[in-house]
Amino acid sequence: MEFLLNEDQLALAETVRDYLAGTHGPDVLRRLDAGDNRDPAIWQGLVDMGLTGLLVPEEFGGLGLGLVDAALIARECGRACLAEPLVDTAFVAVPWLLAQGDAAQMAAIVAGTAKPSVAHAINPWVSDGEGATLDSIDPLRNLTQPVGAPSSDPLLLDLGALMVAAQLAGLAEAMLDQSAAYAKIRTQFGQPIGAFQAVKHQLATAAVAIEFAKPVLWRAAQALADGLSSAPVHISHAKIAATDAAIQMAETAIQVHGAMGYTYEVDLHFWMKRSWALAGAWGSRAFHLKRIDDAVIGGGLAIGPDQTFA
């Protein structure tokens, strides 16, 4: 029993965080929004770091890492509000295809030339697909009509929900950082607004929600990696906790930014819009609450002090 992200995991996440902070800042989001939304050079950078092969076994040229590692990197993708479809391709499609024994595209995925976008019946639409485009509030989402019959495999749903929860955690953390930074430089009544308790307490409340969503996320990722039969419940828990934290954080963030938060000028809107877009993806709040309901009230899961890791 050791509930701890190891040094290798934290070092990898930090490397990705630094890389994205340097190459995928708000100026890049604005450039993408003004242009084609996707940039082959950014994608190639992710490929060169080995991230497309993160979950691909070494025999196919990948890094052969696990779902906790992938969730950590998905969180960094959320933090950077990454536009490229790394999470959908490498952390959702790859493990799902592998679970079905389908390794045909693995080498091409590692090389970055194949970017399978996976359609699941729970999602009416798919990002970066082949069909007609839809107009999402998230300007970089590239949402499309599905082509062909979507899968209804529960494993695919769980992978998608887990990785979207991880992105939401990262989005929330980024919005907290942006809001705290803004509260330190914006002055009113002769002092930074962050010195006012009314502002401090809102940010602290959002920080609590984020802090207590993260361990739920790691637990859910490990449960799926361990093949626990209860993993879907824990993934639903993670999706709800991360979504609630991100939406609460987005509302707090715009409040702290004041009128500036209501503009396109301040960077915050990219992160808010991604949060709104992902909140209902891979299962609505109602869908995930139902799974908790069946487990906890319905009695499908052992609960109580001695059942922490049931």
Binding site: L176, A180, A195, K200, A204, D226, V296, I297, G304, P305
Partner: protein, 387 residues
């Protein structure tokens, strides 16, 4: 990340479970906020000590078992699974104990820790004063050096367990004319010393477990001071960190409440509001989240890390969770919520628990203070009042 218990940990769980099943009182004890109940809880502390379960993480030399934090968590889980009573000596074992372990001399450890683990001395905390609540640095009670004694004068209030406990600990101004955080010392005192008057405070629920303490030239030996003279603030902050952080409220307590709430919901499902159903699920989710977070903090500490201002996040989270769970239970009980005893004679523990839960966001540093700490120390925002 390894979320499976080892066979040794599973064996330990079985050992704790067997002992608890054999020893936990079948009927709930009377509340420890009154004399009769406090005495019952002291008997329970001694029963625990007879099984060597008083404070499992302490070294064997001080009456503990020398166990690690994962074993402590397993112990706590089984304690709450079995419905173990509240710990009469929580101020001693969870707050003062770790403080003495960190700052005490070998003589102080031997003198105070062992009787604490054995349930022989019950401890009260004495932080707040009428003019020093959330603003604890405003403390005015004095301890004036006179040879090998301090002479304490002043007043403490909201002193938990002080109506019935044997000993107390607190911080006092040892440097005349000193201001704020400077010139304070952390001192332990026998509550039966000449010059101490305890005035029990009648609480919201009618019982009198905490008290005001009046000090009228109370002589306390200098060897009762923990750490150096003038270092009281540093020591008190460490103690407060233990309180908000890992030990005071272990997750099993809230997981047990969440489970009881689920059972209560099932009994009242037919007439329950839809919002109560979601609140019950939220209770389970948050109690689990708190447990995962505690396992994660325990792992960090075992790997050589420490808990800092994150303790404030913990305190906000568990105290507001506890209040929300009890509020939901009160809603589910409907008209029966107001009864102190149900018509079948059982105590309404949800009512008692709800009233107690209202103190959670206030004690151990109010949640407003915790949010300030979070904002200033974790988010690096300017201090209150800074221009």
């Amino acid at each position: 990340m390894d979320l499976a218990y080892t066979p040794e940990q599973q064996d330990f769980r079985a050992e704790v479970r067997a002992w608890m099943d054999a020893h936990v009182p079948k009927e709930p004890l009377v509340t420890l906020e009154c004399r009769e109940g406090f005495d019952q809880h002291v008997v329970w502390e001694r029963t625990l000590a007879s099984g060597n379960w008083g404070m499992v993480t302490w070294p064997e030399a001080y009456g503990g078992r020398g166990l690690d934090l994962i074993q402590w968590l397993i112990f706590e889980e089984e304690y709450f699974r079995a419905g173990g009573p509240n710990r009469a000596n929580q101020n001693g074992i969870f707050l003062l104990g770790p403080t003495i372990m960190e700052f005490g001399t070998p003589e102080q450890k031997a003198r105070f820790l062992t009787p604490m683990a054995k349930g022989e001395t019950m401890w009260a905390q004495a932080w707040s004063e009428p003019g020093a609540g959330s603003d604890m640095a405003a403390i005015g009670s004095k301890a004036v050096r006179d040879g090998d004694h301090y002479v304490i004068s002043g007043q403490k209030t909201w002193s938990s367990r002080a109506a019935f406990a044997d000993w107390g600990f607190g911080i006092f101004r040892t440097e005349e004319g000193s201001k704020r955080h400077k010139g304070l010392s952390f001192i332990l005192f026998d509550l039966n010393s000449p010059g101490i008057t305890r005035r029990p405070i009648r609480q919201l629920h009618g019982d009198t477990g905490f008290a005001e303490l009046f000090f009228d030239e109370v002589r306390v030996p200098v060897e009762n001071r923990i750490a150096g003279e003038g270092e009281g603030w540093k020591v008190a902050m460490a103690t407060a960190g233990f309180e908000r952080g890992l030990m005071l409220r272990s997750p099993g307590r809230f997981q047990a409440t969440a489970k009881r709430l689920v059972e209560l919901y099932r009994q009242h499902e037919a007439e329950a509001a839809p919002s109560a159903r979601e609140a019950v699920m939220t209770a389970w989710m948050q109690a689990q989240a708190y447990a995962y977070n505690t396992y994660s903090v325990a792992a960090k500490i075992m790997a050589g890390g420490s808990i800092g201002a994150e303790a404030s996040l913990n305190k906000i989270f568990w105290s507001e969770l506890d209040r929300a769970m009890h509020r939901t239970a009160m809603q589910l009980l409907g008209a029966a919520a107001e009864l102190r005893r149900f018509d079948d004679g059982r105590m309404n523990q949800w009512l008692e628990g709800y009233i107690f839960s209202l103190s959670g966001p206030i004690y151990a540093g109010s949640n407003e203070i915790q949010r300030n700490i979070t904002a200033e120390r974790l988010l690096d925002l300017p201090r209150v009042g800074a221009g």
